[in-house]
């Protein structure tokens, strides 16, 4: 079953003469476990696409199906519930709450989804370990680097065990090394947890390391291609040794590089 489907998606802004069509009849289907990049120039409609897929915005017409559920007729509250339980979000500027520690930020979605807080606490701790922040549970966002904050955000996106994670330029605010490391981390999670990832990026090098690249231009879907990684379906990821700061710095994968995926700590 498709993780998420967009069928005939149209989104228009404004009224009358100033009306702009940001998405024009876009249809895509993303399978469970796929890692997809949406690319395009600014104004191409890629962010609007992601907002519609994340149920943050109602399309003018067309439908979004998540895990087979047609969301076009749902109430705002029901859409909030789906966001809370089935979708994880990662943003360009991390969007962590400054008053909360790393682990409290990871637990934040629990506040709105309900659920067993005690079990979630164990899960949050494990997730922070998984993203390489085992020593920083109680640090505040201001005490962490950009890369570390985004790792907290990745852990937060996974706390409610979603089937789909949406990333809006998740590597847009960090340097190249950190961007590579973050992508490798998401890739590892994607493979190990079979969580679908859809990220919007303007960085074609990063996009090339996903399974599939969807290209938008002026609101139109212009191409939808599998990358070599996607064709192989083996998702090779090379992981560099730690640089002594407790964080894995993953090297960019090279064509044909063949390494084993290390076991998680």
């Amino acid at each position: 079953m498709a993780s998420i489907e967009a069928i005939g998606l149209v989104k228009e802004y404004g009224k009358g003469d100033s009306r702009v069509r940001a998405l024009d009849d876009v249809t895509i289907s993303i399978e469970q476990g796929e890692f997809v990049a949406i690319v395009g120039r600014s104004g191409s409609g890629k962010t609007t696409m992601l907002d519609c897929m994340g149920l943050l915005m109602q399309p003018t017409s067309g439908r979004i199906l998540i895990d087979g559920i047609d969301t076009s007729t749902l109430t705002d509250n029901r859409r909030a519930e789906i966001r809370s339980t089935r979708i994880g979000f990662i943003f360009q500027e991390f969007n962590l709450l400054p008053t909360l520690s790393a682990i409290e930020n990871v637990l934040l979605p629990l506040r709105y989804s309900g659920g067993d807080r005690k079990a979630a606490h164990g899960r949050a701790a494990a997730l922070l370990e998984e993203v390489g922040l085992g020593q920083r549970f109680h640090h505040r966002p201001t005490q962490m680097s950009g890369g570390e904050q985004q790792r907290v955000a990745i852990a937060r996106s996974l706390i409610n065990q979603p089937t789909l994670v949406l990333g809006d330029e998740p590597m847009g605010e960090v340097d190249t090394d950190t961007a590579n490391a973050l992508l490798a981390l998401m890739r590892r999670i994607n493979v190990q947890r079979a969580v679908s990832f859809v990220i919007v990026t303007h960085d074609l090098d990063l996009a090339a390391r996903t399974d599939r690249i969807i290209r938008l231009s002026d609101g139109h879907l212009v191409s939808d291609e599998r990358t070599s990684a996607g064709i192989k379906q083996t998702s090779p990821v090379m992981v560099a040794p730690e640089r002594g700061d407790g964080i894995r710095h993953d090297a960019p994968s090279r064509e044909g590089a063949k390494v084993a995926i290390p076991s998680l700590r």
């Binding site: 907002d51 994340g54 943050l56 915005m57 705002d76 509250n77 909030a80 519930e81 966001r83 809370s84 339980t85 979000f89 943003f91 500027e93 969007n95 709450l97 400054p98 008053t99 909360l100 934040l108 979605p109 506040r111 709105y112 989804s113 937060r156």
Partner: protein
Amino acid sequence: MDILRNLWRRKVRTVLTVTGIVMGIFALTTMGALAEHFNVLLGGGITYYSSSIQVASASGSGGFGGGYMSLDTVNKIKTIDGVIAVGPAVQVLAKPGSVSAVNFGVPDYVMNYDPASFRYSDFKVTLASGRWPGDASRFGVTLGSSFATEFNKHVGDVISLPVRPSDATSDFINHQFTVIGVLNQTLTAPDSGAFVSLQDAQMLMGDSLPQAIRSNVDPYTLITGAVVFGKPGVNLDTLATRITKTISGVKATKPTDLVNSFKAGGAVFTFMTTAAALLALIIGGLSVVNTMIMSVTERTREIGLKKAIGAKTRRILGEFLAESTAIGLLGGAIGFLLGLLLTLALNSSDPSGGLFLITPRLTLIALGFAVALGAGAGVVPAMRAARMDPVTALRAQ
């Protein structure tokens, strides 16, 4: 916990906002305590005066005013249709010549104890210890609670009445009385009274007359007023009019006139309390609105994020309302506590027991008002937060 952390993010602003509420609730508490004290005082007066008719000499203002009438007026009034009992009243100042520019209470007084008046009145006074003066007894006094506290007297102690002023004239006379009883606190007029037998009260009244006329007057034939009680079902206002018309030289005040004047006095204090509450509303409320609007604006992205990760509109509304309510509660609690401490301190330094009365009702009003103020002031900002579009909010700068 989270609420407090959010408030603490902008310490100075939160402190200033809370201070606004503190000031308002402090004013409300102190003014309210003054009003509560007077409401009890006036309430006692209303109960007492609405069940009896006060009769005084038509030439004077009665009571402390220096009007006198003959003791046998009492017997004349008794014959009037509708009267069930008449009590003679003789009242003199207990601390003549004491200077008090502003007096919020009833000045200390000495009065005769009339069993009939106490039996028929709706206003009940009870003994804390000892007994009332007997009809024909001499030089025994039963003290009101604040009178006893003021002079630190207990049953068996001796007290000179009236109390000698520091600048007493050469013809000042007082007498030694033995305290035979102390009354329970009523928070109204009887607290500052000293009750003696009719003859003792008449004697003290005679002593208080100017020396030139003292020798020409037999004080034992005079009273300063009379208290009249009507038979069940008799309209006291009508009865008062009948007394004034029938007996020359006396003026019977209609109970409703007295009660209305008490109520008018009460209205002044209610107005003062309301004004204090309004002050709290304006300073405190507006600053909470301002603070919350700034807080919502600053945290636009945070609101967007919360919505993205599944917070429903009502939940966001609740979070911001809880924050503004917490400001109200915090300010209210501090303001009330400051008010309580100040009124307790002022009361303890006042020998007559003080002017302030913090009642459970006032506590509830002050804290409830603060909480309602915080919540009310938070409504508009919280609605603004709850209605934000997540996409716009997430990408706000």
